[in-house]
């Protein structure tokens, strides 16, 4: 059976950039274990030699003509930004940060 530990939950939360409270860790540990116990039923199916499907309709590369068309203005693109400056997105410090 699938055993989920609270450390695994913290690791997955970190991968997903989700900050979780201790209480949430407890809830997710129980719930993920319960859900995965149901869903691990699929491991019982023999899929030897079966190709995976990532997309239900078979489309390969979709090309279009390389013709310039109007796009959104800078002002429109920035209209929903939490913060912007000089026609750019303004974000908190990225490099040189310590966690």
């Amino acid at each position: 059976m699938t055993k989920i530990t609270s450390n695994q939950v913290r690791h997955v939360a970190n991968l997903a950039r989700l900050r979780v409270s201790d209480e949430e860790v407890q809830t997710f540990t129980n719930q993920l274990e319960g859900l995965l116990e149901h869903f691990s039923a699929i491991s019982a199916i023999d899929t030897k030699g079966v190709q995976p499907t990532s997309h239900p309709i078979a489309i390969n590369n979709v090309f279009r003509k390389d013709v310039p068309t109007p796009s959104l203005s800078q002002e429109q693109v920035l209209s929903n930004a939490p913060s912007s400056e000089d026609n750019r997105f303004s974000v908190p410090q990225i490099l040189g940060e310590s966690e």
């Binding site: 997903a16 997710f28 859900l35 869903f39 699929i42 199916i45 499907t53 309709i57 429109q76 908190p92």
Partner: protein, 442 residues
Amino acid sequence: MESQALEQAKEIDRKKSAGETLGALAGTTVAIKDNMATIGVKTTCASKMLENWIPVYDATVVKKLKEADAIIVGKTNLDEFAMGSSTENSAFKTTKNPHDTSKVPGGSSGGSAATVAAGAVTFSLGSDTGGSIRQPASLCGIVGVKPTYGRVSRYGLVAFGSSLDQIGPFARNVSDAATLLDVLSGYDPMDSTSINKEYKPLTDVLGSDIKGLRVGIIDELKGPQGFQREVLDAVDETAKLLEKNGATVGNVSIPASAYGLSAYYIIAPAEASSNLARFDGMRYGLRVEEQSAALTNEATRQAGFGMEVKRRIMLGTYALSAGYYDAFYAQAQKVRTLMINDFKQAYENFDVLLSPTSPTTAFGIGEKTQDPYQMYLADVCTLPTNIVGATSMSVPVGVDDNGLPIGVQVFAPPLGEEVMFQVASAIEEQANYNAVPVVGAF
């Protein structure tokens, strides 16, 4: 939104008095699930993350509605980011079922279903990733269609599970649903997964003879546990009505569909965890600012997402993570192939398939919120269609002992909408469903 609607109405009046040609939807009102972009009108996905997001473009479906002279009168409530089966996961409001206000309308497109059922609009748009149009249609006693993957453009639909999502219509009858789907269908250069094909109008096939059509009832989607007796009986009665009209009816097995729920709840959360990575508090939506971008990212996602969204991100991230990828995600994708093959085989002997839309009629508000697995089971009959990329629709056929609507689901192969609508219109005519909601403009 109100001023836009009044302007649209005035424009239709002008066209009419000027003798200009009116669009196919002129004079109708439409509501739109709040996960489709509407220019200048907030599109929240019922999430604190997008509480104040005002799109600067229209989704292709919204554009098409406007071009067809429909009047867009409102945005409707949903489960946050379309994740749920009851609309209880909305960060803002609880939507009630117009047939019994102590019950859920279903989900995730619960607002769109309830508003059509209550007669507030002619039709509405929903999105369906695992049943989010068909299940609420069934619970609210209206028609809901999940078109073939790629038939309707997804441009401007906030992505949940990109290989599963599809926009479709809600209406109070099959003919209205066909009229709306005819407007929505078509290739869109803005969505490279839309199918490049000319479609025959579905309104042309309504009412045509079903003599000789072969109808299969899916064995795996009638139990064993958790199915309401009246719902299963409704499927059998519907099959009998079709038989009386010259169709042949048989049973059919889709063995891999027994694993549909597991495959779906691995694939959909995996795609969601990837799609929702874009909500990082940098370019749009909520930002909870801390000293660094990484900390801001975490703080924003903690504050912006509700519990169900977090649960699916966790589930999906786990299924995609090192050490578990092969056992869960890769295996689910192979099961997807098996399901496609099983359905193909079934359609060698049948033209359409039948099952319940939802295992039960509308359940109580709060009844399933503490147990995610019980809530996920509400999708067990609808999610196979999304997994295989095909089409199916829910048609109301009757009510249970408490007067709650029961829907029957008609399945067809990919791009099999014509035969599906043909059978749906026969079911509608025979079943003569006429339950009147307790809330609404009737």
